[in-house]
């Protein structure tokens, strides 16, 4: 018989991994534009550097694993990982740190666990955690000060030099808003702290726009059915609960608005926590998973040594995902009660 033998269904939709990853990358563009506008060329340079490195490492490791190379690159998963890391790290991070992070994410977290779909952790966040632990100085002192009327931005060429030659750019770098607030809140009131020019006129100069761009991208992804609402809503919900419980008084702890509109909250809620591979899988599971991340972000930010804790929150919940999956199986058609746990 000359006919092909294919099992049902014989029609398939026009979805593909490439399309999904491409949409994620697309959804990151507004935020990248905002970041560049407020914090300079560092983010664009980092993005290009990270993407090139990611593709390079992907090719090498695919070659070593004797897998089809084009097939692996085509799915854009490496590009997505690189973009996420590039947007998460400080803009003037030395180039080698970015390369190390990408290497760790692609080779160790993704391919050594079996490649796409098999990584237990989010590669970008694992890399971020690695960099934060290994190079705390570079990871905390290379944040750019946002553009204001008084503060100009580093030129493209100077940014390149800063990244590749680590030239002295002290007048352009500073601590993040979360950092400043956290370290001053013990002594100062909210009004006093926000006198600092980096807070700008509304919440945190520049950061609020970036966060809103992330939110925009996230809504786009939900609309495109790349992600479901469960994870981001529960992440933000978890954070909201914690900050309402503990940060109701902005004079004694980081304010609620800062929690939501500064740092990587929106990036994490819509782009990192929704990474399907390492997250919980059922709708109910995603809710638990998201709430866990939201609560942990607050815990790490408030009682941890670092000003932000998104990476650690995500990684910790990655550990819990398989467990959550077992206890959040949905009720199937015809069942009185869902099968939960490890026994029927």
């Amino acid at each position: 018989m000359a006919f092909v033998n294919i099992t049902s269904p014989h029609v398939v939709g026009h979805n593909s991994v490439t399309l999904m990853m491409g949409k994620v990358c697309l959804a990151l563009v507004p935020a990248l534009v905002a970041l560049t506008y407020f914090f300079g060329w560092g983010y664009v340079i980092n993005a290009v550097l990270a993407v090139s490195a990611a593709v390079f490492f992907e090719v090498i490791i695919t070659l070593l694993r004797k897998r089809p190379i084009l097939f692996a690159i085509k799915d854009l998963s490496a590009v997505t990982t690189a973009l996420l890391l590039a947007l998460a790290v400080p803009p003037f991070l030395p180039w080698w740190a970015t390369i190390i992070g990408i290497f760790f994410a692609i080779v160790f977290i993704k391919h050594l666990f079996g490649g796409l779909g098999h990584n237990p952790f989010n590669p970008a966040m694992a890399a971020y955690a690695l960099l934060l632990i290994s190079f705390p100085l570079q990871m905390t002192t290379t944040w750019s000060i946002a553009l204001t009327e008084t503060q100009s931005l580093l030129s493209f060429g100077d940014t390149l030099t800063a990244i590749f030659k680590s030239s002295n750019i002290d007048s352009y770098t500073g601590a993040t808003v979360l950092d400043v607030y956290k370290h001053n809140v013990a002594a100062l009131t909210q009004n006093e702290i926000t006198q600092n020019p980096i807070f700008g006129s509304f919440v945190a100069n520049g950061w609020e726009w970036v966060s809103l761009m992330y939110l925009l991208g996230g809504v786009f992804l939900i609309w495109q059915k790349v992600i479901t609402w469960h994870t981001p809503v529960s992440v933000l919900g978890g954070l909201l609960i914690m900050s309402v419980l503990f940060s109701y008084d902005a004079d004694t702890s980081t304010s609620i608005s800062l929690h939501f509109l500064a740092g990587s909250t929106m990036l994490g809620a819509f782009f990192i926590a929704t990474d399907p591979v390492s997250s919980a899988t059922s709708n109910l599971g995603k809710l638990y998973y998201g709430v866990g991340i939201g609560v942990l972000i607050y815990v790490f930010r408030t009682w941890g040594p670092n000003p932000d804790g998104f990476a650690f929150a995500v990684l910790l919940m990655n550990f819990c995902a398989p467990f959550i999956d077992h206890y959040t199986r949905p009720r199937t058609y015809g069942q009185d009660k869902a099968t939960r746990g490890y026994k029927a």
Binding site: S8, M20, G117, N283
Partner: protein
């Protein structure tokens, strides 16, 4: 999830679901056309779920259209009718429409193309019929669910129908491309409503829902019009948005009622009967027109399908017959799909027939349906989960199926998957998910079946075991009763009569006694001695084992069990030996009265032997006692914990020593009295009758013992002064005895004319024995050298002993031969015979000569070895060599003589030599093969084999050389 749409059309929204391109317009524009009458119709016996139908026709039989050809086999089964008139041409295995393209039993009809109907009896009003009659008609018509699975329809209509409140008519036709039901509804809506009314009468439901998607407005209109005409007032057409897979039975039940069919259950459990629209029409046709289910409407569609549309085909029409009827474009067709694009399967064999539930033939062109791309890995994006109408987690199921983790798959409710394919449809990684689920389901079914099988086997085995146990118990009970009976009757009989067993024992004893008396009179005594030795050995073993057990209690507790078992065995042996010994002793005393002088002499000798062995034992015991005492003393100083143990063993030893002494005393006195008796006998001058040979033997033995005793005495003088006295006595006794015997012997010799000859024979025999023994022991020594170096000294000692014996024997022979009488007698008697013998026995001489030569050579080799390693053996070996040389030379002379005397000798010799050469060759071959084996398996044996090969090689060479020489 459940959202009641409160508009005109009520429905509950289906969770999940997808919207594949509908592609219905290609085939729903033309009215239903008649299908072809093909050249043959193939009717599988199993078109439905349940037992295959039973054939009721024969090959060659003429059948009419609508005639029953196969009857249902059981309740869940269906009738099959002839779709047209014709002849049964075959009943055989044919490929059928099945994903596995398997063969199944089919009835083949060759149509006569007259299409002649059988007798039918259409009715005008079904209300005249009872429910049972209606169901009977449905069953007779062989109607099965025509939407998919093919469940026999009559099964859905139970006689008791109280609990059915909703009848759902599935007019959804949610699969893309298929329009058979759409056309059927548009054209035959009245019939359908009539069919619904029939079902209403049977089930009397409160409400009837016709569920239909909103993409079939013409059908909806037609149905609504028909419903208006209907007398029934509770039929409502429910239209809901198009979404795949709304047409799944369970899904439709939910959409229309909001109820869910319980897991693993049937709709009837929630008061619902669900019926496909096509089935409803078939019911109408069967009840009203008395038409059996012999045709159905099937969609032919797809870009390569030719004249697309819906055809009313005869059941059993082969796929290719229909396709050629519609003039399909075979070349551009990519595949032929039976059913729709979502759940249909690829046809493997186009000669397979379309059956009762075949609703569509989809013949797409190459680019019409996406070809299957290589699947990406699952990224757990969860899109499948969002579209699953059953609420499953397809990504997890995929993971479990892929890893053969069927337990987890079961936990994740794999069984609830309806294989609709929605997950595969949306999968960005394009994984053929449904295929994974089918695989896992199949595996689970297989496992469950195996498990059930095992359970059944276990139950069977247990039942059998129980049965056997009962039988065994019964048997045991019977046996017990029988035994009791026997015991009772025996008791009754036992009133003075001697039991049988006693009689038998007595008879046996008698026989034994007779045997003993008849057998050689010497035997019992010798037996006695050897038996006693055995007994002693056994006893020693028991003692040593006991000791070892004691030792191991301290040092190696893990050995105790094994030792105790061994001890049990030894005790048994000892007891047996004791019994045999006692019996033999008794027998010995019995025969003692018939002693004649020569046996007395021998008995004396044996007594001496006994005495000697007893003495030795006594000495040993004494020795042990001494040692034990010493050990005890040591222990008292060093290891107090062992003292107790040693004390007991000391007591044992002393007891033993005393026993042995007592035994010795008893025996010595006995021996003395015996000696006296024998002296008397000698004095009676009856010596003439004494057998010279026996006397010679006895004398030799005595002499040997004397010598041994002397050696022992010497040893004792050095080591154990306390034994010297006893031994000295021994020596003198032996000396005396041997002298005595010597005297007897001399006398006997003097009296017997053939005595010398006999004496000589004995001596010769001895010599031979000694030679043999010597050779044996030398061989063993060689072996020991190769394998057990620790035994070498012992063997060497024995060799020396044997050599001396050999020397002595030789000396005796020479002495006898040198005596003048011997020479004479030899001349007188032996020579003529010998000559004759020689003349006759070249064949015998040749091997003898060869042997002698061989021995000589061996001896030479051994001598050489000894020169290197053991200088003390050289002398003996040199003598050996010369002896062998002499012997071989003698034989050579004899052989030559024989050769010169025998005219055929040369030939004979040649034959022998050839045989020798062949033998050598064979041996060499065998050895070579062994060497090969060894190389493969036992590398450590290689050197030994190589040596053997070398020797055999030389032998072969020699044999060949000899052969050449002779030639």
């Amino acid at each position: 999830m459940s959202e009641l749409n409160n508009t005109n059309q009520q429905f509950y929204a289906l969770p999940g679901g997808v919207h594949p391109p509908e592609n219905k317009a290609q085939s729903n524009q033309q009215p239903i056309q008649a299908g072809p009458i093909p050249d043959e119709l193939v009717l599988p016996l199993s078109q439905h779920i349940g037992a295959p139908s039973k054939v009721i026709v024969e090959i060659g039989q003429k059948v009419l259209k609508g005639e029953l050809i196969a009857r249902n086999d059981g309740f869940i089964s269906a009738n099959i009718h002839a779709p047209t008139s014709g002849t049964i041409s075959a009943i055989e295995q044919r490929p059928i429409v099945h994903p596995s393209s398997m063969d199944a039993m089919c009835i083949i009809i060759e149509p006569d193309h007259y299409d002649t109907w059988t007798n039918r009896s259409p009715i005008l009003d079904f209300k005249t019929l009872t429910n049972a009659q209606l169901v009977e008609k449905i069953q007779q018509a062989g109607i099965i669910g025509m939407g998919g699975a093919g469940f026999p329809t009559h099964v859905k209509y139970p006689t008791k129908t109280d609990n059915i409140d909703t009848l759902i008519i599935n007019a959804t036709e949610c699969e893309p491309y298929i329009t058979a039901d759409d056309r059927l509804m548009r054209e035959r809506a009245d019939g359908i409503i009539k069919g619904i009314e029939i079902c209403q009468q049977i089930l009397s439901p409160k409400q009837v829902f016709i569920g239909i998607e909103d993409n079939k407005p013409e059908a909806v209109k037609a149905l609504e019009a028909a419903v208006l005409k209907s007398e029934s007032n509770n039929i409502s057409v429910r239209v809901f948005p198009t979404k795949y897979p709304s047409g799944g039975e369970k899904q439709l039940v939910y959409i229309l009622t909001g109820k869910e069919v319980p897991k693993g259950g049937l709709p009837s459990q929630v008061g619902i009967v669900c019926q496909n629209i096509g089935t409803i029409y078939a019911i109408y046709d069967a009840v009203m027109n008395d038409n059996a289910l012999i045709s159905r409407v099937t969609t032919v569609t797809g870009d390569a399908g030719g004249e697309l549309g819906n055809y009313e085909i005869l059941i059993g029409t082969p796929i290719n017959a229909l396709l050629s009827h519609v003039k399909w474009n075979e070349k551009s067709a990519q595949r032929v799909i039976i059913g729709g694009p979502m759940m249909g399967f690829t046809a493997q064999n186009l000669s397979a027939p379309l059956v009762k539930n075949a609703n569509c033939l989809l013949v797409p062109k190459k680019k019409e349906l996406a070809k299957q791309n290589p699947a990406n890995p699952c990224i757990r994006c969860g899109q499948c989960e969002q579209v699953c109408p059953a609420g499953l987690l397809p990504q997890q199921l995929h993971w479990y199926a892929k890893n053969d983790d069927f337990e987890k798959a079961k936990l994740a409710n794999l069984a609830d998957c309806i294989e609709c394919g929605a997950c595969s449809f949306v999968c960005p990684s394009q994984i053929p998910l449904v295929q994974f689920y089918r695989y896992a389901k199949g595996k689970i079914r297989e496992e469950d079946r195996a498990h059930a099988e095992a359970e059944r086997a276990k139950a069977r085995f247990e039942a059998r075991q129980a049965r056997l146990d009962i039988v065994a118990a019964e048997k045991a009970e019977k046996r017990k009763i029988r035994a009791e009976k026997a015991a009772r009757s025996a008791k009754a009989k036992k009133t003075g009569t001697v039991p049988d067993a006693d009689l038998i024992a007595k008879a046996r004893a008698k026989i034994e006694a007779g045997k003993a008396a008849n057998s050689s009179i010497v035997a019992p005594i010798i037996d006695l001695v050897s038996l006693e030795q055995t007994l002693e050995k056994a006893k020693t073993k028991v003692i040593t084992t006991k000791k070892r057990i004691e030792d191991s209690k301290v040092s190696a507790p893990e050995m105790i069990d094994a030792l105790e078992i061994a001890l049990g065995k030894f005790v048994d042996n000892a007891n047996k030996a004791q019994i045999t010994f006692d019996e033999a002793k008794k027998a010995g005393t019995n025969t003692a009265q018939i002693v004649d002088p020569k046996t007395t002499a021998i008995t004396n000798a044996d007594n001496f032997e006994c005495i000697e062995s007893l003495t030795a034992k006594a000495n040993k015991a004494q020795d042990k006692l001494e040692k034990a005492k010493q050990r005890l003393a040591d222990a008292k100083e060093n290891t107090p914990e062992k003292v107790e143990m040693l004390t007991t063993s000391l007591e044992k030893f002393s007891q033993k020593a005393i026993d042995t002494q007592a035994q010795l005393k008893a025996f010595t006195s006995k021996a003395n009295s015996n000696t006296k008796a024998s002296e008397q006998v000698v004095n009676q001058k009856e010596v003439e009758q004494v057998d010279v040979e026996q006397l010679q033997n006895a004398y030799d033995l005595a002499k040997q013992k004397h010598e041994k005793a002397l050696v022992r005495l010497d040893n004792a003088k050095q080591d154990k002064p306390h034994l010297v006295d006893g031994l000295e006595k021994n020596v003198s006794a032996f000396l005396k005895k041997s002298e005595e015997l010597k005297k007897h012997l001399d006398q006997a010799v003097a009296n017997d004319p053939q005595a010398l000859e006999k004496q000589k024979n004995v001596a010769k025999q001895k010599l031979e024995k000694a030679t043999k023994k010597l050779e044996n022991i030398l061989q063993k020594l060689e072996d020991a050298k190769a394998n057990k170096p620790d035994l070498v000294p012992a063997f060497e000692k024995t060799v020396i002993l044997m050599q001396t014996q050999f020397e002595k024997a030789k000396a005796a022979v020479t002495a006898l031969e040198n005596s003048p009488i011997t020479v004479q007698s030899e001349l007188n008697l032996s020579q003529p015979e010998m000559i004759v013998e020689v003349l006759e026995t070249v064949e015998e001489l040749q091997p003898q000569y060869d042997q002698a030569l061989q021995k000589y050579e061996k001896a030479l080799v051994r001598l050489d070895n000894a020169k290197q390693d053991k200088p003390h053996l050289v002398d003996g070996l040199e003598k050996n060599v010369s002896a062998f040389l002499k012997k071989s030379e003698d034989l050579k002379i004899k052989l030559d003589q024989a050769l010169s005397n025998d005219p055929q000798a040369k030939q004979k010799q040649r034959v022998i030599l050839e045989a020798n050469a062949q033998k050598a060759q064979k041996k060499l071959d065998v050895m070579l093969s062994k060497l090969e084996d060894a190389k493969a398996n036992n590398p450590d044996l290689i050197p030994a084999f190589e040596k053997s090969v070398k020797t055999l090689q030389t032998k072969l060479d020699k044999a060949n050389a000899q052969l050449k020489e002779e030639a």
